[in-house]
Symmetry: C2
Subunit: 499 residues, 2 copies
């Protein structure tokens, strides 16, 4: 009987999965190949698919099925099914708790808000964006209230992206990191060693960069039979199901890093999606665990693997072949230093592996205050600049390089930023565990063999999906809660090595 | 009140249109960019979209709305709405008359049947395909019976593609054509003039062929802001709505005709779809009139325009620039003759403008007999060869070059072939009318200006959609029923000119 109820719930979710996969296709196409005049219909198609998904999920039958299953003893004995019911319950509660009126208001505000932000950033005039930011904060506070929370309304928003994450747990983590990374930066400041930045002001023909990207992503293990690589302004990864996970990248003629690390980053996301359990699609156990865990997969390959010396022992000779004239006077040692350079800067997306986390911590502190009501929209530029100065020791010359640089707040994505740094923390934790489990892992990299590492990720992380919450997954794999130590140790080794 | 009922019908059709447009996107993507392992999910997505569309259309509420509107005096006074109701009634009747059991059986048979046909063609062994053909004929006969017909069951099937077309009307048309084209071929046979076929055995670099295609389709008027050109094995056109109509082509390094005429053919289909009334999407008045009328648009540009001498006066110098070495010893006169060569051959898709129609007439006669029960599946190879010999004066050396060459029957598409020749007949009719309305039209072509012709097609054909049935449209534009004369006159002029 309970088996039958469970199957009914699964069937409902499968229909929702089909609608969701069509939405993924529509969005991928919109960013890659859709002709200009296809926009209006695409908007209607997307709104229709989103509405249908919401109607299916928030239908009272979903609530009844969840209620009956949760009360059954059958579920207690079926762990995998229990994890799926838990995940669907999370999604259902979110869908029914947020009033449709609020969803509509957010949807209506989003387009003009992003437009205002775009224009404000272009002119570096915060005032143009301020009324939208104020309204967006107010609406997201309503969302937090509707969802409910124990301590901080910001927790309710973070939970949308990172189930179970709380300000109380993250604040001390981030405080330690702010302090430790600060001292690392002081050491860099005192060192006289500097990378050869002009390596990335040379000509790297785009056609060869395409070959480089293909070489890198297939070497790491991204399956082109279950995916593809296309060009977009902002690289992304979209998975319809494990058999169809598409990534995009972009190329800069001069700075070869941009395309290569974008491709590797997205391939990391892509391998995670390709490695999810196909038999559990599109149920929670067949879906990514959280945004933080997803980001740990991209950051692990981008930072832990593709910036390592072992990786470049395999890869630099290949690059030399692809770009003989750009790299003719560059040694492997100089090149590896150049992709590992550390420097304080204003723009998050252009920052290095070390300072990146400081950019996130700044945003975390500001948006928590905004959602709690301790900071007002109008005071954001001042608060940003003060905080930036206290962390980085410098002040952005204009808002476009300060509080206006990111799109997130204009779409209402408060609570998302922390998942980037959580991703870095998890990535370092996984790498530490993988190294302990797989002796001489770096030797594999030197041979261009990444199969053991990918297999470790597949069996420890990919196949788990949402069977566990992020912190449960960390405890299962590492035997401890998420700690700042693996990442800090990694960054320290890096500074020791290069500066 | 009736206005309100009509609006309800429109809203239902708009939802069906969104589902249909998503199916178009899914199918476009499947043929162009979908990775291999995306196939199983794509199958599920397509089946889901088709099922949802069928459920919406065949819903009893659709029937009620149609019934009430058809009985209302309001509809009599609203011509456009009446045309939409008529078109939806056609679709509704088809959807409710064919039993779901039969639809399922056809869907289930389709995949193994196409597979069997593929293998049978590869080995040229008709026996491998025979049982599937037999079953497919039986099922399509059931479809004809379910749909109903006055004279011949084949009429019911033709009507699915060409509303109102009947064997009684087509038989005399095709008989005249068979006879007249036969005498034209005798004249070709008696002439000593032959085109320089080896022009199409040279190297035409693919990148330049891409430029050629782009040049041609934009010159003719295909809007790349509302479409795109991609590569597929079998060129096609897919319209989601007038703002997003995508075409595909393919290139042969040696035979430059293949890509160029494929692109122009599909651009003809594409311009039709781009020119449909956006305010009537996805209602019948905002959709193509019939498959024959659709084909008239591709054939008009491909055969009437792009094989004309006037067209090549503009276009040949451009080709010379693009392919200086391949065309260095070829004159414009020789080139135009070469793209207008006429020769009896075995394969329909490789045949020329004149003999093409004979291939269609042969298929029409055979499939009518198959559906009526006058011919059995097992006797198809013999019947094909006998008929081929009587029409072409030669016998296919093997089934792969005879009755196994086309995919249509393996998917159950009986009644589709005649629309190809109807398209040719309509194309010649339109061209005659356009020439009469637009003095010195050929001079436009000589200047590479096709705007007046496209505009004539837009105002006379595109915007009409399904406001009229094909024969009504012909009468409105030409003042007469469809006649073989315009096409025969065109073909006679061609033979006069070149042979």
């Amino acid at each position: 009987m309970n088996q039958k109820l469970y199957q009914e719930l699964v069937d409902r979710e499968k229909e929702r999965g089909l609608l969701s996969s069509l939405l993924e296709l529509a969005e991928w196409d919109e960013s890659t190949y859709m002709p200009k005049k296809g926009g209006p219909l695409r908007g209607e198609q997307k709104a229709y698919l989103a509405k249908k998904q919401h109607a299916l999920l928030s239908h009272e039958r979903t609530g009844e099925l969840l209620h009956e299953l949760e009360a059954s003893s059958w579920l207690k004995e079926h762990g995998l099914e229990r994890a799926n019911v838990r995940g669907i319950r999370r999604a259902y509660d979110q869908a029914v708790k947020i009033p449709p009126r609020l969803i509509e208001e957010l949807a209506r505000l989003s387009t003009p808000s992003v437009e205002a932000w775009t224009e404000a950033r272009r002119l570096s005039e915060f005032e143009l964006f301020e009324p939208y930011l104020e309204k967006m904060i107010a609406l997201r506070r309503e969302v937090a209230k509707a969802l409910g929370y124990k301590v901080s309304p910001y927790d309710a928003l973070m939970d949308l992206y990172e189930p179970g994450a709380t300000t109380a747990e993250i604040r001390p983590l981030f405080a330690t990191m702010k302090k430790e990374i600060g001292s690392l930066l002081d050491r860099v400041g005192k060192s006289s060693r500097r990378p050869r930045g002009e390596i990335f002001e040379r000509d790297y023909p785009i056609a060869q960069q395409e070959n480089l990207s293909k070489l890198a992503m297939t070497a790491l293990g991204y399956d082109l039979d279950a995916g593809r690589l296309d060009l977009t302004t902002h690289p992304f990864c979209r998975g319809m199901n494990p058999g169809d996970v598409r990534i995009t990248t972009r190329y800069d003629l001069k700075d070869v890093r941009d395309g290569l690390f974008s491709t590797i980053h997205e391939a990391g996301h892509g391998m995670y999606e390709q490695g999810l359990r196909p038999d559990q699609w599109p149920l929670p156990v067949g879906k990514h665990c959280s945004m933080g865990i997803h980001e740990s997969q991209s950051r692990l390959w981008e930072n832990m693997v593709a910036r390592s010396e072992a990786f470049w022992e395999f890869f630099f000779p290949k690059m030399r072949e692809l770009f003989p004239s750009a790299l003719q006077d560059v040694s492997q040692e100089q090149f590896v230093f150049a992709v590992n350079g550390v420097e304080r800067s204003f723009i998050r997306t252009e920052s290095d592996e070390v300072t990146y986390n400081l950019h996130i911590i700044l945003r975390f502190e500001l948006e928590e205050a905004l959602i709690k009501g301790d900071l007002q929209a109008k005071d954001v530029p001042t608060a940003w600049n003060e905080k930036f100065e206290s962390i980085f020791g410098m002040v952005p010359p204009k808002s476009a390089m300060g509080c206006l640089q990111d799109i997130h707040w204009s779409c209402g994505d408060f609570g998302y930023f922390p998942t980037y740094t959580l991703g870095n923390l998890y990535a370092a934790q996984w790498m530490e565990c993988a190294r302990a489990a797989l002796p001489a892992l770096e030797d594999d990299f030197r041979r261009g063999d990444f199969a053991r590492l990918k297999n470790w990720l597949a069996t420890n992380i990919y196949v788990e999906g949402q069977r566990m919450l992020p912190d449960e997954l960390c405890n299962k794999i590492a035997g401890n809660d998420l700690s700042p130590e693996p990442l800090l140790a990694h960054l320290r080794r890096k500074i020791d090595r290069f500066y």
